[in-house]
């Protein structure tokens, strides 16, 4: 059962479109796992609909409709009615990579995470410590570091803190820290400076999506020195 959810303020930022891309990705993955927050999100969209209906109308330019109809007519399929739009899977996501395909931790993931993996495969895992592996994910933005963190069975990650806000979404297995046990779907937001020490449970390894606010102005050859992921030191 999911016990940790994004709070309503975060959901408002998501539903209104102001939440940064990478954070929104984590919220979206949570929504795909959590019916309770989906209902709340629906309610928040509804507020958007109410504001749209109630706002003060402004006249558009006189030729707006003509321009639009011209564009619609120029569409090869003569417009609409092609059913729900789904972007085709990217060629990269179809490329063979049997190791990722056989990975039990990657077998059942929210759709948006599968898409993300498709864009990043084959996944290259980097061993940070005997108990922690990580792979950075490109997501089309650079404000946040997005990565999978993988803690082996019973593995301990050394106590650490971070410079920016950090979201952790459990995707497989479970881990615990001083505050509790976290299972798939759990969404944790930690503010800068909060210290924690995750430990994976004994029976299963644990896979999490982590989104960490990247330090600004870090470019160039020494950038890796302040890479937040390196704040995970060997345990």
């Amino acid at each position: 059962m999911i016990r940790h959810h994004p709070d309503n303020n975060l959901l408002v930022e998501y539903a209104s479109g102001s939440l940064p891309w990478a954070m929104s990705l984590a919220v979206s993955a949570h929504l795909q796992l959590c019916p309770q927050c989906r209902r709340e999100n629906e309610h928040l969209n509804h507020i958007g609909g109410g504001l749209l209906e109630g706002c003060e109308p402004q006249e558009t330019t006189g030729d707006a409709l003509d321009r639009l109809m011209q564009r619609i007519d120029a569409e090869p399929t003569a417009g609409g009615a092609t059913g729900p739009e789904r972007a085709p899977e990217s060629p990269k996501s179809r490329s063979r990579n049997t190791r990722d395909d056989r990975d039990p931790a990657l077998a059942r993931l929210p759709r948006v995470i599968r898409k993300l993996i498709g864009d990043n495969r084959p996944l290259k895992w980097r061993r940070v410590s005997p108990s922690l592996k990580t792979t950075r994910l490109t997501t089309g933005q650079d404000r946040y570091e997005v990565a999978f963190q993988r803690i082996c069975r019973g593995g301990k990650v050394v106590e650490h803190d971070h410079r920016g806000r950090e979201v952790t979404l459990v995707l497989y297995g479970s881990f615990s820290d001083a505050d509790g046990v976290y299972t798939p779907g759990d969404f944790l937001l930690r503010e800068p400076g909060e210290v924690h020490q995750p430990i994976a449970t004994q029976d299963q390894e644990c896979l999490c999506l982590s989104v960490v606010e990247a330090p600004v102005h870090v470019k160039g050859p020494l950038g890796w020195l302040v890479n937040p992921l390196l704040s995970f030191r060997p345990a």
Partner: protein, 197 residues
């Protein structure tokens, strides 16, 4: 009291006509109703999230997507206003993203519609009873204290994060957060009360 509700149902019916038959006169009526609202949402006397020109461009793009996606509109799941709102929001994110994206973007294929995914399979099984609540939400919004509706408008219409709102209004972040939460609580109370009646 039925007025608004019936009107929203009318817009839903028009959307269905566009989706099933590419009905142009239905689409034109939708355009005449929604285009000025979409523009007003982003550009008005009180708030200019967009320039008048950018708001016009947004109108074009949103209504184009409404035409293209109308077949996926399901009136049993969303009201016309809410459905168009989600298309408009995704469109705006796309537009802002295109404008700010660096040249060396990392070639990731995750798109706005993947993250802000309003497809039927991402919807809850128990959908809000929107037929009733579309009217109620509009009344609820009007009944909010000004300071609460103000932060909601800043968030939704100007697309500002809580911390941007706090900077702009010179309020502590905690105050902005609690005003938003109070507004939501009040709207939910209104909806559940009217739903029970």
């Amino acid at each position: 009291m039925q007025q608004t509700q019936n009107r929203d149902d009318d817009w839903s019916k028009l959307l269905v006509l566009v989706g099933t038959r590419q009905d142009r006169s239905a689409f034109e009526r939708l355009f005449h109703h929604y285009a000025p609202l979409i523009k007003g949402f982003h550009y008005s006397r009180s708030a200019q999230a967009f320039s008048s020109e950018a708001a016009d461009e947004l109108v074009q793009e949103v209504m184009f997507r409404v035409w293209r996606k109308a077949a996926s509109f399901d009136p049993s799941r969303a009201s016309a206003n809410t459905w168009i709102y989600t298309i408009m929001r995704n469109c705006r994110i796309d537009m802002l993203r295109r404008n700010s994206r660096r040249q060396d973007a990392d070639g990731c294929d995750v798109e706005v519609d993947d993250i802000w995914d309003e497809s039927p399979e991402s919807q809850p099984l128990l959908v809000l009873q929107h037929r009733r609540s579309q009217r109620d939400i509009s009344e609820g919004l009007r009944s909010l204290p000004a300071e609460q509706s103000h932060v909601l408008e800043k968030a939704y219409m100007e697309g500002k994060s809580h911390s941007e709102i706090s900077t702009e209004l010179g309020l502590p972040l905690g105050t902005v957060k609690s005003r938003v939460r109070l507004a939501l609580k009040k709207l939910e109370a209104i909806l559940s009360k009217q739903g029970a009646s």
